[in-house]
């Protein structure tokens, strides 16, 4: 029901991002409500941003189909633009599907500093989540002597890990 405020379209023709440079400073003030250290640009969820006749159109893509943060992100974008006197429209797109590869290097660094291990590549991710290999680095002490506690963590996009060196539990952002 919340999504009524966001216009829904299904797909974009192109995989490339198109973000008008003048809009970046405002978009950079909107962060992911569940991971506040990450801006939506760092997350790579903004696929298009353009301004036409004074109206800004932002197209965002959900990280997971059921991600409850998308409704909040949509509202936050509208509020951020309205605070600088601009009208914004937010559209939700499903394809191309979001991938963790779209998280920027800055975003990955912010994740690690916040205590969430950044996603490995797809093959390493599978090995780590099945507990076959110890590849995920503890965000507290840096050791890779870590084990998976649960493949589903505090949100759908994360798995729960524990460090066997320093005993610290931490989240790992799953590869998608």
């Amino acid at each position: 029901m919340l999504r009524n405020r966001i216009k829904y379209i299904e797909f974009l023709v192109e995989e490339k991002q198109h973000i008008e440079e003048s809009l970046i400073p405002i978009l950079d003030t909107v962060s992911d409500p569940e991971i506040p250290v990450l801006t939506i640009l760092d997350m790579g969820v903004v696929r298009e941003a353009s301004e036409n006749m004074g109206v800004v159109t932002i197209k965002i893509t959900p990280t997971y189909s059921g991600c409850p943060a998308m409704d909040v992100i949509g509202d936050d974008i509208i509020a951020a633009f309205s605070s600088v006197g601009k009208e914004a429209k937010v559209e939700l797109i499903l394809s191309p599907a979001w991938t963790t590869d779209w998280i920027t290097p800055k975003g990955r660094k912010a994740l690690e500093e916040y205590g969430i291990a950044a996603p490995l590549n797809a093959i390493a991710d599978k090995e780590a989540l099945l507990g076959n290999k110890k590849l995920v680095k503890c965000t507290n002490c840096g050791s890779t002597n870590t084990k998976v506690v649960s493949q589903f963590g505090s949100t759908a996009c994360k798995a729960l890990f524990k460090c066997e060196e320093c005993q610290e539990p931490f989240d790992y952002f799953k590869c998608l």
Binding site: F11, P62, Y64, S65, G66, P68, L94, A97, F152, L160
Partner: protein, 250 residues
């Protein structure tokens, strides 16, 4: 064409809605915190996929319909989910067996739906395949852990695998709407997935030291809207708010 397309999508998406609702019942009742969270995460993925399908149906129907009308305002006979997903959470073995039987199917379905002619369904499947692969990994893991665990966990897992087996064959039945959509190149011919399905199921069960059921008698009906005795109770809980306070919004 449009009516068949809507029926086809309902056949796919109602499974996600009802299974998502069943898993949602476990919120706060999982055997431990991590598993509790995992089950509700899976529920959230399924309900997210359902929203995408229902929004698409609402746009096809026009008439000012929304995803909520489709989720909450239909009567029992209008839901087209398979009987498997409405089966109750008897014990944790049943929860995992139901999930496993569905996930093996769901992964095959999403893989094939990516080759549909319908761009929206392709988009939903592209997104969904990544999520359901995680679901299958989780449920297979539990089937193996419990099957190859203690004698009690083995016995309970076998009980659930045997008990739900009769609902697996229905996954591969084709309705008239399915047949029309297969002709159009939109729908997946699920009858062709049967062999791959039972092969995968057997592999995991064998690894779990469980015996593969041989029962040849199967239950069916959900795809035609003829549901088991459990469905009314699910809908009563699911629809309560919308029926009591029509058009209420969060």
């Amino acid at each position: 064409m449009k009516e068949n397309l809507i029926k086809y999508i309902l056949g796919v998406s109602d499974n996600s809605l009802i299974l998502g609702q069943r898993l949602g019942e476990l919120c706060g009742h999982g055997p431990n915190l991590e598993t509790d969270i995992a089950l509700t995460n899976i529920s959230l993925d399924l309900l997210g996929q359902t929203r995408n399908y229902y929004q698409y149906i609402a746009s096809l129907q026009g008439e000012g319909k929304t995803e909520d009308d489709i989720a909450f305002m239909r009567s029992e006979r209008e839901y087209l989910n398979v009987l498997l997903v409405e089966q109750p959470n008897n014990h944790f073995g049943f929860v995992m067996a139901r999930q496993f039987y569905f996930d093996v199917f769901h992964v095959l379905l999403m893989e094939n739906l990516q080759h549909s002619n319908d761009e929206t369904l392709i988009a939903i499947a592209n997104k969904g395949i990544k999520e359901v692969s995680y679901h299958l990994r989780f449920s297979s893991d539990w089937v193996k852990r419990l099957g190859d665990g203690t004698s009690e966990s083995h016995q309970k897992m076998q009980e659930a695998i045997d008990g739900l087996w009769v609902f697996t064959d229905e996954l591969f039945h084709l309705t008239d709407a399915d047949k029309h959509m297969i002709e159009e190149g939109i729908g997946v011919d699920v009858s062709t997935l049967k062999e791959a399905y039972y092969k995968k199921v057997s592999e995991v069960l064998t690894e779990a030291t469980l015996s593969v059921p041989e029962e040849k008698y199967f239950q069916k009906g959900g795809k035609q809207g003829i549901h088991s005795e459990h469905m009314g109770f699910i809908l009563a809980e699911l629809q309560y708010m919308q029926r009591t306070y029509p058009n209420m919004k969060w």
